[in-house]
């Protein structure tokens, strides 16, 4: 058993020359079985064996010690070789390159076999008809090597670009892919016209193809990181738990799901838990068998060696289940737990360690740096390179992470110290806009005629739109020129560079208030707060009997673990009544949610009858129609002037009636209805000692679908407020804002933090500030009267 364990450790640890995206460097205890992780802090080199210490080099490749795994694979390899193995590239559910300049970058994990194989890249796309082919180009580069640079000319029919990837460009581990497009309009030079430019990448036709027969085979547990995506950008783990009906299986299943999710760290991961094999297979799908040896024997044609003796985690090519099946087993559940722990240990983060970055490389490079307090980053560190631009509208972005206890939304202002330049062509009236999570946060008008170099121009960026977790900050320059006004035919792309942003620019975060709030679903979305921090097994109350519910539970907890950057210990056997005043997650179909929980999180349980049925909304909404008419008529006449002044006031001061509340009341109970398929609600526990989150849906299958939709990257980041509903049909997320919350202290007491907390609270409650200031001023006036009465002369 001892040797088997050692073998397992070596196997699982071998290719970690690639730095994991969880920033675990140095965090693992010295006793942990991964000495290799110290080797290369940077992007892995093209030759991983060289970078790996000789000790672990042995099990790599097809060398004899590893034959225990590779031996049974042989026949399968032949089978698979008939069809070249594909690796879909786009980890998004949709990829559209819009505007005059667009760029996306992410990393793709490849196994050593894939990296060593000859490969070619396929890219299918279609573009808007107005994109001028002679002036528009699309570029793809991998690891800094340009793979192709082609004109964009697929307006009529989708086109495919197929290019061989030069040798030695790909390497085992993470490979950075950058896709960028420069597009110009055929006829128009207006700013408006730039919004008509787009190129859509066809996800199903964009992939790498590997020639090598063993490229599609995983040999190590670590290879699971190369699971990739399917043709819709999703990643699915089929967890086959033959004994899932047993209570004892639930917690390990969830724990394994979390560990795998952290390991693969793909943006759209879902888990399907079942007793038996599921038909799904292909790229982007991983099969995992979990259970004691006796149980897994039911689904596997051969139980892996040693499973009867001790913990085993290995990749097998099973004739029944297919190639590259991860088996986690042992003689009993304790041994299985140990096997899971061995995987978990590689990806977990100790509770006390500070997070310096969020692992996002698989969908956005570089990893997003985390700001836990005042700090600044150069654009170059944020992945924004110096950019020169000759068109009309250019947008570039970067991301920064803030912790879940970020509490500066109401008052805070971050700063961008912009190094940029614009040529003499650029006319006043042009402007540079800053967007935070797609909300406008600042505008800098360009006012100087004749070009200018801006050196560290401070731009105040309101932090109103910052959320816990990663935040995208975009810089968009809108450039007006005389040439564009004239827009001489045939010369839309002529002219030199008009604008440049330099990578010496900086993003500066001031000190911000840190205190968490409950409820705040955005904190779960951002960093899994508060569940990512609990030091006890988190009670998860769900119906373990239904595989849909368990799937939903694993998917959700896995997503939360990824957000938290560490595993969340779960106790799935707690009864609802035994939760007491702790944190807890309730995950069930609405009918099974205890009424006390519903009442606690402010959801009404009695009108569940009509929920979940898609009802077409045909009743005209008077209010919306009225607003539309008002919109239509605004800006004309003096009435329009007044309303535009009103708009200016609202835009400038963001004044809403909410600012005038002093004691906000509790919100009314929410009655789930309509076509929303999932509801997530959060509230403090009855004695405010913990945070309860309810995830519910009309039925168990709706719950699974809803959680699957919600955990997609695009949806997940919209989770927020006190209550969120997800409509899986329309991919629509609706949040109800937090109206009443309690603070949860996350930082040791400090006066400066409290000052900022008070500042933010008062900024959100403007009238309170006015009242406090008034009262204090009156006190000062009275104190002054007393002072003047006792000092100086009196008569």
């Amino acid at each position: 058993m001892r040797s088997a364990l050692l073998l397992l450790l070596l196997l699982s640890a071998s290719p970690t020359a690639a730095q994991t995206p969880f920033d675990m460097s140095g965090e693992r205890p010295a006793a942990s079985p991964a000495p290799q992780s110290m080797t290369s802090p940077s992007v892995p080199s093209a030759t991983p064996p060289a970078a790996t210490p000789p000790v672990s080099a042995a099990p790599l490749g097809a060398t004899p010690p590893a034959t225990s795994n590779s031996a049974p694979v042989e026949p399968e390899v032949q089978q698979a070789a008939t069809e070249p193995s594909k690796r879909y590239l786009v980890p998004f559910t949709e990829l559209v390159l819009a505007g005059e300049y667009a760029q996306r970058s992410w990393s793709v994990f490849l196994t050593p076999e894939q990296a060593a194989s000859a490969s070619e890249i396929h890219l299918g796309y279609q573009n808007a008809i107005v994109v001028a082919p002679e002036a528009s180009r699309m570029t793809v580069s991998i690891n800094g090597t340009t793979i192709f640079d082609e004109p964009i000319a697929a307006a009529d029919n989708a086109a495919d670009i197929v290019t061989a990837v030069p040798p030695r460009v790909l390497h085992a581990g993470l490979n950075d892919i950058v896709i960028s497009a420069v597009q110009r309009h055929r006829t128009d030079c207006s700013i408006q016209s730039t919004y008509e430019l787009w190129t859509q990448i066809d996800l199903a036709r964009t992939f790498l193809v590997f020639d090598a027969p063993d490229a599609s085979h995983w040999k190590r547990v670590e290879d699971l990181r190369a699971v990739g995506v399917d043709e819709s950008g999703a990643t699915t783990f089929n967890l086959i738990v033959p004994s899932m009906a047993q209570t004892v299986s639930t917690s390990p299943t969830i724990r394994l799901g979390e560990a795998l999710a952290l390991m693969a760290n793909m943006p759209n991961q879902a888990f399907e838990v079942s007793e038996d094999d599921l038909p799904e297979a292909g790229p982007g799908v991983a099969k995992v068998v979990l259970g004691p040896a006796a149980d897994v024997a039911k689904v596997l044609s051969a139980v892996p060696q040693g499973a009867e003796a001790g913990p085993v985690a290995t990749v097998v090519d099973d004739p029944k289940l297919g190639p590259s099946t991860l088996v986690i087993s042992g003689p009993n559940w304790q041994a299985v737990d140990m096997a899971i722990d061995d995987i978990a240990r590689q990806v977990d983060r100790p509770a006390g360690s500070l997070r310096t970055s969020l692992g996002t490389r698989n969908w956005r490079t570089p990893d997003v740096p985390m700001l836990l307090g005042a700090g600044s980053f150069k654009f170059s560190d944020l992945g924004v390179n110096t950019l020169e631009f000759s068109g009309r509208r250019v947008r570039t972005d970067f991301a920064v992470g803030v912790p879940s206890d970020f509490y500066a939304g109401a008052y805070g202002q971050a700063k961008i110290l912009l190094d940029a330049a614009y040529s003499q062509e650029v006319l006043p009236g042009s402007h540079i806009d800053i967007y935070v999570n797609d909300n406008i946060a600042a505008t800098v008008p360009i006012t100087t005629v004749g070009g200018e170099i801006l050196r560290h121009l401070p731009i105040k960026v309101t932090m109103r739109h910052f959320r816990p977790g990663d935040n995208t900050v975009a810089i968009e320059a809108v450039l007006l020129t005389q040439a564009d006004t004239v827009c001489a035919p045939g010369a839309p792309s002529s002219g030199g560079q008009r604008f440049a942003v330099f990578d010496t620019s900086e993003f500066v975060m001031p000190d911000f208030a840190r205190v968490a709030r409950t409820p705040d679903l955005a904190a779960i979305s951002g960093t899994g707060f508060p569940y990512g921090r609990v030091d006890y097994a988190l009670p998860l109350i769900m119906d373990r009997a239904q595989s849909e519910t368990v799937s939903a539970g694993v998917t959700l907890l896995a997503r939360m673990s990824v957000a938290a950057g560490r595993l969340i210990a779960v106790d799935a056997s707690t009864a609802a009544s035994a939760v007491a005043d702790r944190n807890a997650i309730f995950l069930s179909a609405l009918s099974q949610v205890p009424p006390t929980v519903l009442a606690q999180v402010g959801v009404s349980g009695n009108s569940s009858s009509g929920w979940g049925e898609a009802v077409a909304s045909i009743k005209p909404n008077t209010e919306t129609t009225f607003d539309e008419w008002r919109q239509k008529l605004s800006g004309s006449g003096w009435r329009g002037q007044i309303s535009s002044f009103e708009d200016w006031m609202t835009r400038t001061f963001n004044i809403s009636m909410d600012s005038f509340r002093i004691f906000p009341g509790r919100p009314a109970e929410y009655t789930p209805q309509g076509s929303a398929s999932l509801l997530v609600a959060q509230e403090t526990s009855p004695s405010a000692g913990g945070t309860w989150t309810l995830v519910t849906a009309p039925s168990a299958s709706a719950l699974r679908e809803g959680v699957r939709t919600l955990t997609q990257q695009r949806m997940w980041r919209q989770l927020g407020g006190h209550l969120t509903t997800v409509d899986s049909g329309d991919d629509k997320v609706v949040t109800l804002p937090v109206t009443h919350f309690s603070f949860v202290e996350t930082q040791p007491f400090s006066l400066s933090n409290y000052r900022l907390i008070v500042a933010n609270w008062l900024s959100a409650n403007a009238l309170s500030y006015a009242v406090v200031l008034t009262v204090l001023s009156i006190l000062l006036g009275l104190a002054t009267a007393g002072l003047l009465g006792s000092l100086g002369r009196h008569r």
Binding site: P428, L773, S777, L780, A783, L788, G789, R795
Partner: protein
């Protein structure tokens, strides 16, 4: 007192100290709370809501209870908003240091604003709770100490001096207990032996003339060998030649009322450490600003804010200072400092600092007890102010009140307030120029958006005006301080800079106060005002152009343009100030009502003296026919003097006359030829200080911020027009045949 009494007094003393400490602690705590609140980095919307709330609260307080504790509460409100402005201004509006072209002017503007805020804070301290007027001491004097009355003179007319001397001599005080000294620096040996024959001649003649006049009026004439240390030296010479217990000082043109000594000397016996009793300077004639804007009759004078509020505020902190005239000093105190200090050209304030620092006390009596003249032309007004500004700068340089040993902390703050005030030309100049940086050169010296301007700057400005109104209310109408500062800035700025560079250079120049302006004209030093006005006008045009041409930054342009417009309004009003109106009556007429007999052609008629000025009177005569009267005919007025009840005839010439419902109103000019005539004139004008008080009260009204602003705006527009008309006349070289001023001035 028994031993027990001592113990009790000690305990009592400790008790009051404890109480005092607690009160200070309480105040410090309240301040700390407000400060903490104010320095929170709150959002813009919260700021807007808070400043609006505070503004509303201040307005309500203003309407309901603008005095007492509520006044202090309102000031605390204002202070909170001002502090929020300072916090915001400091933390988020300064241009980045790597843009020097923005940073340098930006920092200058910031410093100018900080100066203004600091001065506001100091004046808040000084006038937070001005001491109420003291009850009259006139009838409480059991002891009458001996008094030497000094009237220092340099070049004033003997006629003017005669009135002053006569009034001084006529004071209600036992004649043997006070001596009046005419301290003549215009007839010194040095002057009489001048190398220039004309000067020597003049000095010789003056010496003789004054000696005779003094002798006629019962005044001791005193001159000296050399004109050393100017006025201070002159007074010190007087000190060395006299021996009275107290010294009263009157400028040559400041004639005391009869009750002057009665109202002042009593304080010296109440407090043995008292060195000064200062009384306000009341002026019979308008200063050039008042004269040219014609506000003298309706609006409180500029110096009324100083004498009506500030000196009372200073008095609370035992820091009321000597203003050169209309004051009584204790000889024994002056002896300690070897007389009046003469390092600076404002010897008065300097002397007071020295004596305060030595633990002497001062008292301010808030009752006009002298009446004087102030400079009539804009040029001499500026000359006077230059002297004050330069003198205060010298004091700041040589005595530095904030660190002067011996002064109490409140006294240091008070003197800081009084001296630092005169740095105002710097911030004024910066405020004037700052908007032009943006309008003409597109420099961003104040980085804020239109919304921030609205939430912070605008509310700060309104609060500032409201606080001024709370502080000075009836004594200073809105925008008048700004106007006075602006009209002085243009010429004071170089003067202040020069004294900062050469602190020992300025010499004492006597302000001319007896000039008169017969024809309307532009002031000889008025040209720069037109240049500034022109530049600001271009700035306004630039604003309009920018709003039209660069609509994307219209909000900031409008804010800056509005600021420039405010400057333009001020500059326009100043055009009126430098357009000197020609005037018939040289001095203001004081309303009196005294029975008299009027002699025409040797016949006596009953009459009433309606009003008097330093040069003439208006009498309503009963009985005679119009035919009896003729222009320039000699006549006489006989009336009973307040001083001693004797009757005498004052010779006059008739200037004009008209029939009224009551009889014939005759305007006449004094023709004094003997000492007794001067006593008559002095008795007419100066005998009754009540009438001056009444006059002051008559124009003391608080128009409020809105009405005051509207009034100022109307005046500014009219004065701009008047200034431009004068300017055009001046350019075209025509002598104004019927000056606007004279036409308008025609009133009985």
């Amino acid at each position: 007192m028994t031993r027990g009494g001592h113990v009790m007094a000690d305990a009592d003393c400790r008790g009051t100290w404890m109480r005092k400490f607690l009160i200070i602690l309480q105040w410090a705590l309240a301040s700390a709370c407000v400060l903490t609140m104010v320095s929170l980095p709150i959002s813009l919307e919260t700021q807007l809501v808070a400043s609006m709330s505070v503004l509303v609260a201040m307005m309500i307080l203003k309407l309901v209870r603008p005095d007492g504790i509520w006044r202090l509460v309102a000031l605390a409100f204002g202070t909170a908003i001002v502090m929020r402005y300072v916090y915001w201004r400091t933390t988020s509006t300064l241009p980045p240091i790597n843009q020097l072209e923005n940073f340098i002017p930006g920092i200058l503007l910031y410093l100018a604003e900080l100066y203004s805020v600091m001065m506001l804070a100091l004046s808040l301290f000084v006038v937070a709770l001005p001491l109420p007027s003291r009850p009259s001491r006139a009838n409480l004097n059991d002891r009458l100490p001996t008094v030497d009355v000094f009237i220092p003179t340099y070049n004033e007319d003997p006629e003017l001096l005669a009135n002053t001397m006569a009034a001084a001599r006529g004071m209600d005080y036992p004649p043997d207990r006070f001596t009046v000294w005419l301290l003549d620096d215009g007839g010194t040996l040095q002057k009489r032996n001048s190398e220039r024959m004309v000067d020597a001649n003049n000095a010789e003649r003056r010496n003789e003339q004054l000696q005779k006049l003094a002798a006629d009026l019962g005044v001791n004439y005193l001159t000296r060998d050399r004109n050393e240390h100017a006025k201070a030296g002159n007074l010190n010479n007087g000190l060395s030649q006299s021996s009275g217990e107290l010294i009263a000082v009157f400028d040559a043109d400041h004639a005391p009322a009869r009750d002057f000594l009665k109202e002042t000397v009593g304080y010296f016996d109440e407090d043995p450490r008292l060195f000064l009793v200062q009384t306000p300077h009341f002026f019979l004639n308008p200063d050039p600003v008042e004269r040219n804007l014609r506000t003298f009759e309706q609006m409180p004078s500029e110096n009324e804010m100083f004498y009506g509020i500030i000196q009372r505020g200073l008095d609370k902190w035992n820091a009321s200072f000597f203003c050169g005239s209309a004051a009584v000093l204790r000889r024994s105190a002056l002896v300690e400092t070897n007389g009046f200090s003469g390092v600076s050209i404002t010897e008065d304030c300097e002397t007071a600092i020295e004596l305060h620092a030595r633990g002497w006390h001062s008292v301010y009596v808030d009752k006009p007890l002298i009446a004087g003249l102030q400079p009539a032309t804009f040029a001499s007004f500026i000359g006077q102010r230059s002297r004050w500004a330069q003198g205060m700068m010298q004091i700041l340089r040589f005595r530095f009140p904030p660190l002067k040993r011996g002064l109490s902390i409140p006294q240091r703050l008070c003197y800081m307030s009084s001296t630092l005030f005169w740095l105002f030309p710097f911030p004024r100049a910066i405020f004037l120029v700052a908007p032009l940086f943006y309008l003409f050169f597109d420099l961003q010296i104040f980085t804020a958006s239109g919304g921030e301007f609205m939430a912070y700057t605008l509310s700060y400005m309104i609060v500032n005006l409201m606080m001024q109104n709370y502080l000075y209310g009836a004594f200073r109408w809105p925008w008048i301080s700004e106007l006075y500062e602006y009209v002085q800035t243009v010429h004071l700025l170089p003067a202040v800079i020069s004294v900062i560079l050469n602190p020992r250079k300025p010499t004492f120049k006597v302000t001319a106060k007896d000039e008169s302006i017969s024809t309307s004209r532009l002031s000889e030093i008025g040209k720069p005002f037109f240049v500034i006005f022109g530049v600001l006008l271009i700035g306004v045009a630039m604003t309009a152009y920018k709003v039209y041409a660069e609509p994307y930054k219209a909000d900031v342009t409008l804010v800056v343009g509005g600021w420039n417009l405010l400057n333009l309004i001020m500059a326009g009003c100043a055009l009126g100030v430098v357009s000197e109106r020609g005037e018939r009556a040289a001095t203001r007429r004081v309303k009196v009502s005294r029975r008299c007999d009027f002699e025409i052609n040797g016949k006596w008629h009953k009459g009433t003296i309606e009003n008097v000025s330093a040069f003439g009177a208006r009498v309503t005569v009963l009985g005679p026919e119009l035919e009896d009267l003729a222009r320039d005919a000699k006549a006489g007025i006989r009336f009973k003097m307040f001083a001693d009840g004797t009757e005498a005839v004052l010779p006059v010439t008739i200037r004009n006359f008209e029939r009224t419902a009551d009889g014939i109103a005759v305007g006449c000019l004094y023709q004094p030829s003997e000492a007794v005539h001067h006593r008559l004139v002095a008795d007419l004008i100066f005998a009754n200080s009540k009438q001056w008080e009444q006059f002051q009260l008559s124009r003391r009204g608080n128009p409020g911020l809105l009405r005051g602003t509207a009034w100022f705006l109307r005046m500014a527009i009219y004065q701009t027009y008047r200034g431009l008309v004068y300017f055009w006349r001046d350019l075209s070289g025509r002598k104004p045949t019927a000056p606007l001023g004279q036409l308008a001035e025609k009133r009985p």
